[in-house]
Amino acid sequence: MAVVEVRELVKHYDGGRVHAIDGVDLSAGDGEYLVLLGPSGCGKTTLLRTLAGLEVPTSGDVLIGGRVVTRLPPRARKIAMVFQSYALYPHKTVFANIIFPLRAQGVPPEERHRKVRWAAELLDIGPLLGRKPRQLSGGERQRVALARALVREPQVFLLDEPLSNLDAKLRASARDELKRFQAEIGTTTIYVTHDQVEAMGLGDRIVVLAAGKVRQVGPPVEVYDDPADTFVATFIGSPPMNLVTREGRLVGFRPEHLLPVEDVRSPDRVSVPLAVDRIEYLSGDRHVYGVASRIGEETRVVARLPATVDTPIAAGETHDFAVDARRLRFFDAETGLRAEPVRLEG
């Protein structure tokens, strides 16, 4: 059952000059973790705010729990939202912050206290209840914001880049916590981020957005391995997919599939001579930059060799690389959309 559904949603600003959302259809199932991923300005936050009811769409409908809520105010939607800034009420204690939405709902006092204790225990913030937000670290603020969202027992969690205010180290552990938390609660979650690592790590499905349009929806594996167009191919993956022009098409292959020829076991391989100009050594992997020939027009590409590949390679030499033919993806050079695979000799 779709808990959240969006139909032909359009949002224009400034009398139609800015198309923030340009015809989006989406649905998120019960308990699903759906990640909206895209570069800044792609409309992902506007989409989330429209789901929350903070923006009224120009046209189209939003359904939550099977009910059309397009014109309803945020408070009538049974949603909880965590803002990028966490938006804790600075004048209230942690306890008062968490209990605030329960007072709005008119929950009886004993019930309120019970729920706050339950949420505080779940998120391990019991000792912080008496503090003010300014006395908390970034990670603690995030947990308080989650607890406040949790006590409402919403149908949907809407999270707007909740990890972007944390430092890199904390971000990894907070990401893990978020995933476990959602698995435990089982509430449908829609998560906005511009960070593909977060998207790949958290999402059951990823929605890739660009310029207000959905480019691809699918599980992380599918979005990564079978990108729908060149935008998705180059936006996801670090380093991104290599694209080489060949006869009106673009041939794409991931850097980790471009390996020295002796390391490609498959008999069905396409050889790529690579004029190496630079090598980077990054956390065990070697990133080899160079100009690829034969597979198409000469193009600068990158190969990512895992630590298990120990073929000696030096900058300045041309080395024989190859790609497993099954790993090649083809795109139309004009539209950038996926095209039928062709057989390359080689």
């Binding site: 105010p73 600075p90 605030f100 300014r134």
Partner: protein
């Protein structure tokens, strides 16, 4: 002692000297007024006497005169209730106006905010001519209520701008969060925005009240009967008769009005400062 120790000590001395001078500058006039209020006429009017000390025994006569033989208590009461009403009217009108201008991105909000401020730039010394016609038309001439009606024309424009600044300093997220948490826009405003904008509200209260207490032109132009006058016109008209100044009673009136106001504002001061420092740390 080395060079830095000398510097530190001299810097410290400098700070204290500056603080003492500033304190004397602020408190000096009050002390002088207080001393004068209790002086005998023969002490006050002798130019060879030191004006800052009692050269003859102190007398409470002039202070008693102020409270028993003039309508000073009526003036004070008038100023007080006009002040409170003006403050309330100002807040009730300026808070929603400032909120709308600061938050609801409407295309007309910029020009409208400027227009509101332009009204304030017309000086009362010009405006009282036309306003007096308005006051008469409504039938409020010679009534203290005319001041309740007219003072908000000065206090509201300034307060709107003052509050706009405070409101723009409050992150939008906070009230949107309150709306997601189950409140209407009005509920979010009352529960999440008002507490955060409290320092601004205190500033408006201080501004509107002190303006009401000190305003002279409108009070003089619209209100003639003694029992309807506020302090600002009542005291000078009662205690300055032609060339005769009742200096001691005048000084007593000044101190009697100023000290309670200063005391009340001092109570607010803590909240004022606390509010500012709360806003300065990212919450």
């Amino acid at each position: 002692m080395n060079r830095y120790a000398v510097r530190r000590v001299s810097a410290r001395i400098g700070v204290y000297v500056a603080a003492i001078v500033a304190a004397l500058l602020c408190a000096g006039p009050f002390l002088w007024s207080l001393v004068t209020a209790f002086k005998q006429n023969r002490d006050l009017y002798d130019p060879t006497n030191n004006p800052f000390v009692f050269n003859r025994p102190a007398t409470p006569d002039h202070v008693t005169y102020l409270f028993t033989d003039t309508a000073f208590l009526t003036f004070t009461w008038n100023t007080l209730w006009v002040g409170v009403l003006v403050v309330l009217i100002t807040l009730v009108l300026a808070l929603p106006a400032a909120y709308a201008l600061a938050r609801l991105d409407r295309p007309w909000s910029g020009p409208l905010a400027v227009a509101i401020f332009l009204v304030y730039l017309v000086p009362p010394s010009l405006l009282f001519l036309s306003l007096s016609r308005v006051v008469v038309a409504i039938g409020l001439q010679d009534s203290t209520w005319s001041l309740v009606l007219v003072y908000p024309t000065i206090t509201i424009p300034v307060s709107v701008w003052l509050l706009m600044g405070f409101l723009k300093g409050i992150p939008r997220d906070i009230e949107e969060q309150a709306m997601v948490d189950g409140y209407s826009r009005l509920g979010a405003f009352v529960r999440a925005v008002i507490p955060l904008v409290f320092p601004g509200i205190v500033a408006v209260v201080v501004f509107a009240f002190t303006l009401t207490a000190s305003e002279f032109i409108y009070a003089l132009a619209f209100v003639a009967p003694t029992e309807e006058m506020p302090v600002s016109t009542g005291v000078p008209t009662q205690l300055v008769r032609g060339d005769v100044f009742f200096w001691q009673s005048l000084q007593a009136a000044t101190v009697a009005v100023a000290v309670p106001i200063a005391f009340v504002f001092n109570l607010f001061l803590d909240r004022f400062v606390a509010g500012f420092t709360m806003g300065s740390v990212k919450g």
